[in-house]
């Protein structure tokens, strides 16, 4: 305590070596005492009621006469019937990209497995032909996945991307969340926008 006493005399700015003009302190306590009018409770309560009932009536009108192009004024979404438009950056469940013939693009290099912070990916690599690797088993434990998007970021083959799928991830049994290669494969056309997004964000501004 003794080291910090005397703070009242020397402003704190002196102690940290920053001039007071830089700190630009602004007092926020607008008034110390309430006026009698405010002390009576009633005025402020009425003001609060006016605000909330303003919201009430505007929203009621918004339900009865919705603004053009929308169903209602409040922006809550009726989830299963209506769905959000996801931004292009959105990271949903990771999926594997398939070639046109249905085989996976993945070459089982193991970068995603290595990078995954949650250790959700495990790959068993095999060779189709000499020098042509492929994942014999590709297990993605969605119970562990944290949707960080590192797998997509490190993949040198555009073989795994974050899709915009977010449904079907609530399961009673954890084993059902261990997705195998077959469950994860998506045709290239389905994740085209994401592939384009990934390619673009990494190249456009990097240098």
């Amino acid at each position: 305590m003794s080291t910090t006493t005397g703070l009242g005399q020397s402003p704190y700015s002196v102690q940290v070596g920053v001039p007071a003009a830089v700190l630009k302190a602004k007092k926020v306590r607008r008034r110390l005492d309430l006026t009698l009018w405010e002390k009576l409770y009633v005025a402020e309560i009425v003001r609060g009621l006016v605000i909330t009932s303003k919201h009430f009536f505007i929203n009621m009108l918004g339900f009865i006469f919705p603004p053009a192009g929308k169903k209602r004024k409040v922006f809550t979404v009726y989830y299963p019937e209506e769905k959000l438009t996801l931004p292009s950056a959105y990271r949903g469940r990771p999926v594997l990209v398939a070639h046109a013939d249905g085989s996976e693009k993945c070459v089982a290099c193991g970068l995603c497995e290595k990078m995954c912070p949650a250790h959700a990916i495990s790959i068993v690599a095999a060779e189709k032909a000499p020098g042509e690797r492929y994942p014999a088993r590709y297990t993605l434990d969605l119970g562990r996945c944290v949707y960080c998007g590192y797998c997509e970021e490190v993949c040198p083959k555009e073989a795994i991307v974050m899709s915009d799928e977010y449904q079907g991830l609530a399961q009673g049994d954890r084993n059902l969340l261990r997705f195998q290669k077959e469950q994860l494969l998506r045709p290239e056309g389905k994740v085209k926008t994401r592939l384009y997004f990934v390619r673009r964000i990494y190249s456009k501004w990097n240098y």
Partner: protein, 358 residues
Amino acid sequence: MLADLIESLAKIVFIFTVNVGVFAPILGWVERKQSAVMQDRIGANRADILGFTAIGLFHSLADAVKLLTKEDFVPANANKFFHTLAPFIALVPAISAFAIIPFGGRYELFGREINLVIADLDVGILYVFALAGLATYGTVLAGWSSRSNWSLLGGLRASAQMLSYEVAMGLSIIGIIIVYGSLRLTDIGAAQENFFRWGIFLQPVGFIIYMTCAIAENKRIPFDIPEAESELVAGYFTEYSGMKFVMFWMAEFLEMVTISAIVTTLFFGAWHIPFVTDAMLLSWFSGFAGPNGAAALAMAVNIAVFFAKVSFFIWLQMTIRWTLPRFRYDQVMRMCWKMLLPLSLINLSITGLVVLLL
């Protein structure tokens, strides 16, 4: 004799249906929906029958089914007898308080004089206070018998708060009683036929005090300290579930209806439309409906006007509940004893003086 019995039975059935059958379940929905609209949300809208949702109205039905079939849990250490008794004690006064509130005027129908009130008691408004006093036991016993620290604290807070506010509430009403010279609610209602003799113009301070005390008595925000969920989990009904929980809940809603009805009767012209007397109504309707039809129509108009006013005050109470933060325990007591009580005494003496001088 038989006709009397039928008449009063009809009135009881009507009020009971309106209160327990219509208001209590629907208010649960109204509270959810109104708060949602106030807060830029949509609110309950999922429960449906054959795909028809009726803007969420079926939620009250679903709630009822859910709560009735829910396990009725009693803590191991609780005093089972009082734990079971408490919700009933809370609910019964809330239901029976409506008996003395007039919801219409006095009319001649088929040669019988019909007064639209279940019991036209001479002591009138005092009856409501008596019942409010009994309602305290519900919360106190619930808090005590649960054998939970939160419940006990809630019960203690509830008893102190409800006792204190009863005093100020009683005193705030006396002004109205002096002005109209009667305790009988039908008299007070009839006296407000003239728009400029509505209670709100004669006793504006009394209205504010009564409204405050009534909300405090009903233990709703900003006075919900006995159940303040962020402090005491749920206060005196922390340990209740299922049907018993619903009874506290219903008691709260019914009390809200009663408060609105009393405010309407005492301060907002009861069943009257401004500048329209019952005689005017009768003369308008008798033009095309005959004397009996006119009386029936006038009664219907009275009832409609009365319940419209009641609905408005329910809306107002809900708006207050969803707008304001809650007090602290000591602030509630200070407000009662140091602000409302002196204020109502001053109001009382000024009213007495004015009445005496005029």
